[in-house]
C-alpha cells in the first residue's frame, strides 16, 4: 500500500496479529472487509504463491547496483527543514510522485519516477562488520558474511559463500533459449582488496557464476568467446558440429550412460549462441541509434544500462549492472563512497550520470513495452550518515563528507506491475530511520525472487547439503499497485 500524504490508512500489515488477538474479531478493530480480505489473502498465499499479486510478474531483472553507498539525503530523500549539518547543500525539487520531492541533483529522474516506486525506508542493522564488502554481501546474497580474515577484512569470495541473487535466478529460472542467463558488468563488486565478494555463485558452483563482461561499454567491446573465430567461419563450425555428432554417435553405450547429463543440450546451446550471434549482437551498441545512446549518456554507466536493456531483450534473465567507480582515495573520482567532498562531485560527477542513465532506462523500457515484464532495481549497499563530517563506521570523514548509514536509505524499483509514480515508506525528520514500513535488504531480495516466480521461502542446499532458506525475508507485496 502506498503512502498518500495527508491520508491515514491501514495497510495489509496494518493490524498486527497481536492486535487481532487482543481484540478477538475483525469488527472490534474497525477493519474494513477489503482490508480483512487483503489480509486473508496474505495468509492464503503463504501456502501457495501461484496467482498471488505480483508473483511471477517479471521475466527478467536489471539490478542497477550503486556500490559505494549513495547519499540518500542528497539524492532521493532531501530534508530541507533539517539543520544545516544534516540537510546539506542541495534544494528539493518536485517529482511526478504527488507530494514527493527529490534532490535538485536528479532533474530527469524527477520526471522518470512516473514509472517507478521510490522506497524511502530501506533499513538494516549490520551484523558485526560495518564495511562495504559485508554490506554488499548482505544485499546480494541475503546473508551476513560469516568469516573475517585476520586483518579484519572480509575473506575473498570462496566456494562456500552464499550465492549472489543472479546465480540463484540462473539456476532456478534457466532461460529456455540459448542466451547468457546472467551477465555482470562493467566491473566486479569491490572494496579495497576484496574483489567480487557477494557476486559469485558460491556453493552453487562456478557453472552459475555470471558471465563477466568487465569492459567499458562506452568503448568498443571485445566479446571473443561469443564471436566466431576468423579461422573458423560459420560453415566450418557447422561441419565440426556434424562431425562431432557422428563421433559421439559411434559410441552408443557411452551416449546411453551419459543420457541424464544433458551434455548435448549444453553443446546445442553453445553452438546456437555462437552461430546465431544473438548474444554477440546484444553486446553491439553500434546497432543503436546515436540519439538513443546519447539519451543514456556516453558514459560507462549510461552505456552499461543501454547494454542491460539489449541483453534483457535478447532473453537474459538477470543483469547485474554495477556502478563503475570505486573509491581510490581521490575525492574527485565518482565513487559513491563520499567520506570527503560529498557535495561538489555528487552534483557535478555522480548524479548527472545516474540521473541521465537511470531515467533513460526507465523511459526506454516503458516505451518499448519491456517494463511490463522487467523488474528494475536501483540501490546501493547502504545510504550515508545524515550528519555531515562525523564518523559512524569507524572511518575518518572530512568535514564535508558523509559516512556509511545502513539504518535508513532509499532505492528505486520499477516495472512488472509495481506501482508507477509512487512512494513506499517514509523516513523520519533527519532521514536517519524509517518512520514506517521498514524494508530490510532481505525483504527486497525476497521481492525480487517473488517477482520472478520463485518462492523466497524455498529450501536450498549448501555445499554440505545442509538445508538453508533461499532468503529470510518478507515479500513487499504492497509495492504492486
Amino acid at each position: 500500500m502506498l503512502v498518500i500524504p495527508g491520508q491515514k490508512s491501514h495497510t495489509c500489515e496494518g493490524p498486527t496479529r497481536r492486535e487481532l488477538l487482543r481484540s478477538g474479531s475483525i469488527g472490534l478493530l474497525g477493519l474494513s472487509l477489503a482490508e480483512f480480505l487483503c489480509w486473508q489473502d496474505q495468509a492464503k498465499a503463504a501456502g501457495t504463491l501461484e496467482g498471488s499479486r505480483g508473483f511471477g510478474s517479471a521475466k527478467s531483472v536489471i539490478m542497477v547496483f550503486l556500490q559505494g553507498g549513495p547519499s540518500h539525503i542528497d539524492i532521493w530523500d532531501p530534508k530541507p527543514d533539517a539543520a544545516a549539518n544534516i540537510r546539506g547543500e542541495f534544494k528539493p525539487i518536485k517529482t511526478k510522485i504527488p507530494g514527493t520531492h527529490i534532490s535538485e541533483t536528479m532533474p530527469m529522474m524527477a520526471d522518470a519516477l512516473q514509472h517507478a516506486t521510490l522506497i524511502r525506508s530501506m533499513s538494516y542493522t549490520p551484523n558485526g562488520l560495518f564495511n562495504h564488502t559485508a554490506a554488499i554481501y548482505q544485499m546480494l546474497t541475503g546473508y551476513p558474511p560469516d568469516r573475517v580474515s585476520p586483518s579484519g577484512q572480509l575473506e575473498p569470495p570462496n566456494s562456500a559463500d552464499f550465492p549472489t541473487a543472479g546465480s540463484h535466478v540462473s539456476k532456478l529460472k534457466p532461460p529456455k533459449e540459448a542466451v547468457l542467463p546472467f551477465v555482470e558488468m562493467p566491473r566486479p563488486l569491490q572494496e579495497s582488496g576484496v574483489i567480487g565478494k557477494g557476486g559469485a555463485a558460491g556453493f552453487l558452483g562456478k557453472a552459475y557464476d555470471p558471465y563477466r563482461m568487465y569492459q567499458d561499454p562506452a568503448k568498443p567491446l571485445q566479446i571473443d568467446d561469443l564471436s566466431l573465430r576468423k579461422d573458423i567461419p560459420k560453415e566450418r563450425l557447422k561441419d565440426r558440429f556434424e562431425l562431432l555428432k557422428g563421433i559421439n554417435g559411434s559410441m552408443p553405450e557411452l551416449e546411453k550412460a551419459l543420457n541424464a547429463q544433458a551434455i548435448d543440450e549444453y553443446y546445442g546451446k553453445a553452438f546456437d549462441l555462437v552461430l546465431s550471434g544473438k548474444a554477440r549482437d546484444a553486446f553491439d551498441l553500434t546497432k543503436e541509434k546515436e540519439a538513443v545512446r546519447e539519451r543514456y549518456g556516453m558514459t560507462t554507466f549510461g552505456q552499461g544500462l543501454l547494454l542491460s536493456r539489449r541483453l534483457i531483450e535478447a532473453g537474459t534473465k538477470f543483469v547485474q549492472m554495477n556502478w563503475p567507480a570505486v573509491a581510490n582515495g581521490n575525492p574527485e573520482v565518482d565513487s559513491w563512497d563520499t567520506h570527503a567532498a560529498n557535495f561538489g562531485p555528487l552534483k557535478n560527477l555522480h548524479c548527472p550520470k545516474l540521473d541521465r542513465g537511470l531515467s533513460a532506462l526507465l523511459d526506454d523500457l516503458a516505451q518499448r513495452g519491456l517494463l511490463k515484464e522487467t523488474l528494475v532495481v536501483a540501490i546501493g549497499e547502504f545510504g550515508r550518515s545524515p550528519r555531515i563530517g562525523v564518523s559512524t563506521s569507524g572511518n575518518s570523514n572530512a568535514p564535508d563528507g558523509r559516512d556509511h548509514w545502513p539504518y535508513c536509505y532509499s532505492g528505486v524499483v520499477a516495472g512488472c506491475g509495481i506501482a508507477a509514480g509512487a512512494q513506499y515508506g517514509e523516513s523520519d525528520q533527519t532521514a536517519s530511520s524509517p518512520k514506517d514500513k521498514p524494508v530490510h535488504p532481505n525483504d527486497l531480495l525476497a521481492t525480487v525472487y517473488y517477482a520472478l516466480g520463485i518462492d523466497p521461502d524455498m529450501e536450498i542446499r549448501n555445499h554440505l547439503n545442509q538445508p538453508r532458506e533461499l532468503v529470510k525475508g518478507k515479500v513487499v507485496r504492497d509495492l504492486w499497485a
Binding site: D225, R240, I247, M251, L254, Y266, A270, E459, H463
Partner: protein
C-alpha cells in the same frame, strides 16, 4: 525449570480433570517436531523464524518449552480459552502463519495441544518422560520385486518403562528415495532394485532399517566371472543375492586409459597404447604389470600429491608462496617414499615449529583456530562431520554439542606466531589461558575423544597443551574406528566415482556402507599392511570389479550403488588440460612455473587462476570437502570447449601434433590413427576410420584444416571428456 503460575495451573487442571494427562516431553514436543515447526527452514533456523525460535529438530526440549512459555510474555497460551492460544491459531492458520497450515482444528494434534494448554502446560519429568529406546519393526525389509510395499511400526520406550506407538510422529527418511520411497503413513515402496536404508528419528533417538528390493525377473542365472582378489568375492556375494549380474571386464585399451587416468591423471601416450595392445601376456598378468609400472612412475606421485593438496587446502592464500611450495614438496616426498599413511597424518597433526623448517606444520595455518582445526581434522582424516554439532546436537548422528567442544579442546592450546623470516610462522603449544569454553555457559570443556581408541600413553587424556599430540595418536591409531575405514573409503571413491559410504566425508550410522563386509575387509587389509597406500591402490585396481566394463546387461543396468559396472566420470580439470596437451601436442603455458609443468603438478590454485582449470571445476582449496572439486558440465564450459581459445588454438597450432604428423609425411590413415590413439587411447574402428578418411579428403579447406576439425571434434566428444 521454572514453576508455572500455580493458581492458573490448578484451575485449568481442575477444569480438564477428565482428560488424560498430557505433558510437553512425551506428548507435545513430538507433534511440533512431526509438524515441521523445528525444521531448519522454520523456527529451528539459527535465528528462528519471524521472531520465534525453537531448537533445531527439537534437540533441546527444555529450550523449546521455555521459548513457548516465556517468549512474548506467555502470549502463546490463552489458558482461559485454549483455542485462542497462538500456539493453536498459528499452525491452524486461524491467524496468518508464514509456515502455512500445519494441522487443522479437527486433528488429534490439535486436541492434544488444546488439552495440554487446558491442563496447565506441564513440562513432564525427564526421568520419566524422555525416550530411552526406539524399537522399529520389522528389523529388515525384503521385497521380492519393485512395486511392493511394506510398513514400519515404531515403538518408543520411555524412562519410566512405558511404551507408545509413535509411528505417526516419528520421522522416517530413506537414504535413496528413488529406490525406497517413504509415504506419509510410514509406508515404504520399493521403486527399483537394490538396497537402501531407512532412518527413523524420534525425540533425539534414531534407528535404521535396511530395505532390499530384489529383481523379480525370471531366468536369472548367476554366471560366475573370474575373481581377481577378495574385493570381487565380497562384491559378488552381494550382487548374487540381489540378482545383479556384473559386467564383463573392459578391453585392454579401455583398461589402459582408465587406469592411467585414475592412477596418474595422465592419458597414455600413443606408443604405450600400441605396445600394450600388442603385448600377448595373459590379461591378468599384463594388467597387473601395468599397474605396478604406473605406481612406480613420477606421474603417480604428482597425481596423489594433487589429491592430498586438495584435501589439506594447500593454498598460498593461507601459507604464503614459499610456504605452499614447501608444503607441496613435503606431500610429494611423502608419496614418493610411500610413507605409511598413518605416519604421514601423524606427522601432520603433531607438527610444530617453523613452517619453513617443518613444512607439515603449514596444515595448521589454514584453519588457525581450535574449532575449525578440529572440524577439518575429523572430516579429512576420519570422514566425520562434527561441524553440525557446533550449534546443536547432530541431527543424524550421536554427536552432541558437548562432544564438539570436548574435541575442539584438543586444539585449544594451538598457538601460531610470526617467525623470523618473511612469511614464516611458528606453530607452538601455548602454556596458559587456553581453555576451551562452552558457548552456552562458559564452563571449561576438558578434552575427550568421541570414541575410545588408544592414544599412545597410559592413563587419562593429558590436560596440558600436549593434548594435541594425544589427538594425533588417537586419530591414527589402528583401533580408531574411523581412520583406516574412512581412508579406504575415500581412496575407493577416486576409482569408482562414489564411496562404499557416500559422501565419503559424511560417515555416520545413518549413512551406512553399500557393502559393509567389503569395507570391513579392506579396512583390515589396509591396517594389516601398515597403512600402505600403494598396496591399497594396487588391490583396488587389480580387482575385476574395478576393471568392469560400462556395458550393462539386463540385470545390472539400473544398479548404481553396488559397483556392478563402470560408470563414466568426467575428467577433472587438470586431467582434461593435460589430456588436451597430449592429444594436440601443445602445452599451455602457466606463468610463474617452468614451461614444461603439467596441470597436475601445479602447487596451488593461484597458478592459472580464473582460467580453463577453474572453469572446469578445479577446487579452490578453501574447503576440506571433496565436493569442492566439481565435475559437472555447464553452458559456460560447453561454450569454452566449442569456441574458446584453449582448444581452438591448440588444434591448429603450427607446432602441434597435426602439423608434425603432416610434416613427417604421414598419410591420412596414419594421421587418423595417431589422432585416435592420442585422444581416445585406442585405434579407430573400421567405421570410424572410414568416416574420418572421407571427412579429411572432402571439403575445400585442405587436408590440414580438415584434420584439425577431426581433432577438434575428438577432444570435444564424450569419448574424450569422460573416462569410462
Amino acid at each position: 525449570m521454572k514453576f508455572l503460575l500455580p493458581l492458573l495451573a490448578i484451575s485449568t487442571v481442575f477444569a480438564a480433570a477428565e482428560e488424560p494427562r498430557v505433558n510437553f516431553l512425551r506428548d507435545v514436543a513430538p507433534i511440533l517436531s512431526k509438524s515441521g515447526c523445528m525444521s531448519g527452514t522454520c523456527h529451528g533456523a539459527a535465528k528462528g523464524k519471524n521472531g520465534f525460535k525453537l531448537s533445531l529438530r527439537g534437540y533441546d526440549p527444555q529450550f523449546d518449552y521455555e521459548a513457548l512459555l516465556y517468549d512474548l510474555a506467555g502470549r502463546r497460551f490463552n489458558r482461559a480459552d485454549p483455542a485462542r492460544s497462538l500456539m493453536l491459531t498459528k499452525p491452524t492458520q486461524a491467524v496468518p502463519h508464514g509456515g502455512g497450515l500445519r494441522f487443522d482444528v479437527k486433528s488429534d494434534y490439535y486436541k492434544t495441544i488444546y488439552t495440554w494448554i487446558a491442563q496447565g502446560v506441564v513440562y513432564g519429568d525427564p526421568a520419566k518422560d524422555s525416550v530411552t529406546k526406539l524399537d522399529v519393526a520389522p528389523k529388515e525389509i525384503m521385497m521380492d520385486k519393485p512395486g511392493e510395499t511394506a510398513s514400519v511400526k515404531v515403538i518408543a520406550t520411555f524412562a519410566d518403562g512405558g511404551t507408545r506407538d509413535v509411528t505417526r510422529e516419528a520421522n522416517i527418511d530413506s537414504n535413496v528415495p528413488d529406490l525406497a520411497a517413504v509415504g506419509t503413513h510410514a509406508d515404504v515402496k520399493g521403486a527399483r532394485i537394490g538396497e537402501a536404508t531407512l532412518l527413523i528419528r524420534y525425540q533425539g533417538k534414531f534407528s535404521t532399517v535396511p530395505v532390499t528390493v530384489l529383481n523379480p525377473a525370471p531366468g536369472f542365472a548367476w554366471k560366475q566371472l573370474p575373481q581377481n582378489n577378495y574385493i570381487d568375492k565380497f562384491i559378488d556375494t552381494k550382487l548374487q543375492r540381489l540378482k545383479i549380474q556384473p559386467s564383463q571386464v573392459v578391453d585392454d585399451a579401455g583398461f589402459l586409459r582408465r587406469v592411467s587416468l585414475d592412477l596418474t591423471g595422465q592419458l597414455p601416450d600413443p606408443n604405450e597404447v600400441r605396445a600394450f595392445i600388442a603385448d600377448t601376456t595373459p590379461e591378468k598378468i599384463k594388467r597387473s604389470r601395468l599397474i605396478d609400472k604406473l605406481i612406480a612412475g613420477n606421474a603417480f606421485v604428482d597425481h596423489w600429491t594433487l589429491k592430498m593438496g586438495d584435501l589439506l587446502e594447500a593454498n598460498r592464500k593461507f601459507m604464503g608462496e614459499k610456504g605452499v611450495y614447501e608444503f607441496d614438496e613435503w606431500i610429494r616426498e611423502s608419496f614418493a617414499a610411500n610413507k605409511p599413511y598413518d605416519k604421514m597424518v601423524r606427522e601432520i597433526l603433531s607438527s610444530s615449529g617453523s613452517s619453513y623448517e617443518n613444512p607439515a606444520a603449514n596444515f595448521f595455518r589454514v584453519t588457525r583456530n581450535p574449532k575449525p582445526t578440529m572440524e577439518v581434522t575429523t572430516q579429512v582424516f576420519l570422514g566425520v562431520r562434527m561441524v553440525c554439532a557446533q550449534c546443536h546436537d547432530h541431527p543424524f548422528e550421536r554427536w552432541t554439542q558437548n562432544q564438539y567442544y570436548e574435541m575442539a579442546a584438543f586444539y585449544s592450546g594451538l598457538g601460531i606466531r610470526p617467525g623470523y623470516e618473511v612469511g614464516e610462522e611458528i606453530i607452538y603449544n601455548q602454556r596458559e589461558n587456553f581453555d576451551m569454553k562452552h558457548p552456552k555457559d562458559g564452563r571449561i570443556m576438558k578434552p575427550a575423544f568421541i570414541v575410545p581408541a588408544s592414544f599412545g600413553r597410559p592413563g587419562p587424556v593429558p590436560t596440558d597443551s600436549s593434548r594435541r599430540l594425544a589427538l594425533a595418536e588417537w586419530v591414527t591409531a589402528k583401533d580408531n574406528p574411523f581412520f583406516a575405514k574412512s581412508t579406504v573409503n575415500r581412496y575407493w571413491s577416486y576409482f569408482f566415482g562414489r564411496g562404499i559410504i557416500d559422501p565419503v566425508d559424511d560417515i555416520r550410522a545413518s549413512n551406512p556402507p553399500a557393502n559393509p563386509a567389503l569395507l570391513e575387509a579392506m579396512t583390515k587389509d589396509f591396517i594389516d599392511h601398515s597403512f600402505d597406500l600403494r598396496y591399497l591402490l594396487r588391490t583396488i585396481t587389480n580387482s575385476r570389479t574395478y576393471q568392469s566394463s560400462m556395458s550393462v546387461n539386463e540385470w545390472n543396468a539400473k544398479d548404481i550403488e553396488n559397483f556392478s559396472h563402470a560408470v563414466p566420470r568426467r575428467l577433472s580439470a587438470e586431467e582434461l588440460m593435460d589430456g588436451l596437451t597430449l592429444a594436440t601436442g601443445v602445452r599451455p603455458v602457466f606463468t610463474e612455473v617452468p614451461p614444461d609443468t603439467r596441470a597436475e603438478q601445479l602447487p596451488d590454485p593461484h597458478v592459472g587462476k580464473d582460467g580453463f582449470l577453474d572453469l572446469f571445476g578445479r577446487p579452490s582449496r578453501e574447503s576440506p570437502c571433496e565436493c569442492d572439486r566439481r565435475t559437472d558440465l555447464s553452458l559456460p564450459q560447453a561454450l569454452n570447449l566449442v569456441n574458446g581459445k584453449t582448444i581452438s588454438d591448440a588444434v591448429s597450432d603450427g607446432g602441434g601434433r597435426i602439423a608434425k604428423a603432416i610434416l613427417s609425411g604421414k598419410n591420412d590413415r596414419e594421421l587418423i590413427e595417431e589422432l585416435y590413439l592420442a585422444s581416445y587411447s585406442r585405434p579407430p574402428t573400421a567405421t570410424e576410420l572410414e568416416t574420418s578418411m572421407k571427412y579429411i579428403s572432402s571439403g575445400t579447406s585442405g587436408r590440414a584444416s580438415r584434420a584439425q576439425d577431426l581433432l577438434w571434434a575428438l577432444v570435444n566428444s564424450k569419448g574424450f571428456l569422460y573416462t569410462f
